[in-house]
Amino acid sequence: MLLENWRWKIVIAYKDYTSIILNVNGEKRRVVVKPSDTLLRVLREQLGLTGAKPGCENGDCGACTVLLDRKPVKSCMILAVEVADSEITTIEGLNNTEIQEAFYEEGGFQCGYCTSGFLLNTYALLEEKPDASDEEIKEWLQSNLCRCTGYEGIKNAVYSAKKKIKER
């Protein structure tokens, strides 16, 4: 990080390659990035966290979804340098959650490419709103596309996870 003196005030500034620390899945990880590097690319190519997928890289499909301070975001549309202060959660940071169990039991995936995005989005939804209404579930999950399943298994998994979380 380069801190420039700007009329006697300090401004965060990044030029060329720079070393930053990302807080990923509870661990502080050092990466060397350019300002134009997206979070998706840095997670995959520098940290080996390939769970988030490049689907459209246009903010449409949701395969790149990660959590930023517990909110789902599309990492293909975020610059790595702007999230150095944030808590990032990738699919690799979810372990034995109800939603993962439910997806397995209900057959909520086929090729698996969209699955990490759906899991993180649903995880965030049910953590924030364990009693999410049908309307809210639909609204949140419209952010993710699946070309394989026809969504029935995904939908069943979400409701199953909701039930499991209530029974915690």
């Binding site: 975020i78 610059l79 609204e139 949140w140 952010s143």
Partner: protein, 282 residues
Amino acid sequence: MIAYDFEYYRPETYTEAIEIFHEKSKEGKSPIYYCGGTETVTYARKNLVSTGAVIDIKAIPECLEFSEEGDKIIYGAALNLNYIVEKTSFKLMSDVIRKIADHTVRNRLSLGGNICGRLFYREAILPILVTEGVAVIAGKDGVRRVPVLEFFNKRVNLSEGEILLQVEIDKKYTALPYYNERKERQGKIDYPLFHLVAIKVGEQIRFAFSGICPYPFRALGLEKVLNNRIMSIEDRAKYATENLPTNARNDIYASSEFRIYLFEKAVVNALRKLEVENSDSL
């Protein structure tokens, strides 16, 4: 990935942001202000926007302000749309902006980014147009407050280096009856074929539209006719379709004829709801 390099700055005051903008401009870097990044990053990846420096406004306190105290609502330009949907009591605002993009994108998409962006729909401006909100703008010469009908004409009127800090809306509008209709080609997550917003202020109805023309608009001359109760509702809607500020859009989503057909029906619906059903309202 983005195929070119740029510098990144994150100032903590708008004066710093403006100074950096002008400095980078002198260096020939074509700086742009950056907030949610949903448009900038995707456009940069496709080489549709070119810049040597982005200036992130997300650390500027005025841009993050949200307040519903006193007689006005203040929305900071850097607030993401989901934040506004969750927090604001102004139902028309939340109803309009929750239809923009999808839920996950709205966690980053900012109010200012939607209004000032390149994509011509700019639907977040619609409730601000009908409530005659005020844009708070910072530039080299200080801060100015500009009525939205001066600030926005097809797109925002900002001089080089100016930043949209906030939008203010008078609270008196928040309890008024309104009508909001948006039509997509298929599915709810899509650009609108058109988006109509109307609010009843006294006995007059104010209209703003997006998607039907290449820019969102509120046409005061057209509005006068739409409020002329000597004409039938159907005749007024027909007049509206024949007096758009420019030709209706014709693209892969819909032909201009289909857009006009849907638009006419929506204007009838709005007039019926607000003029007839809400005839005893404020």
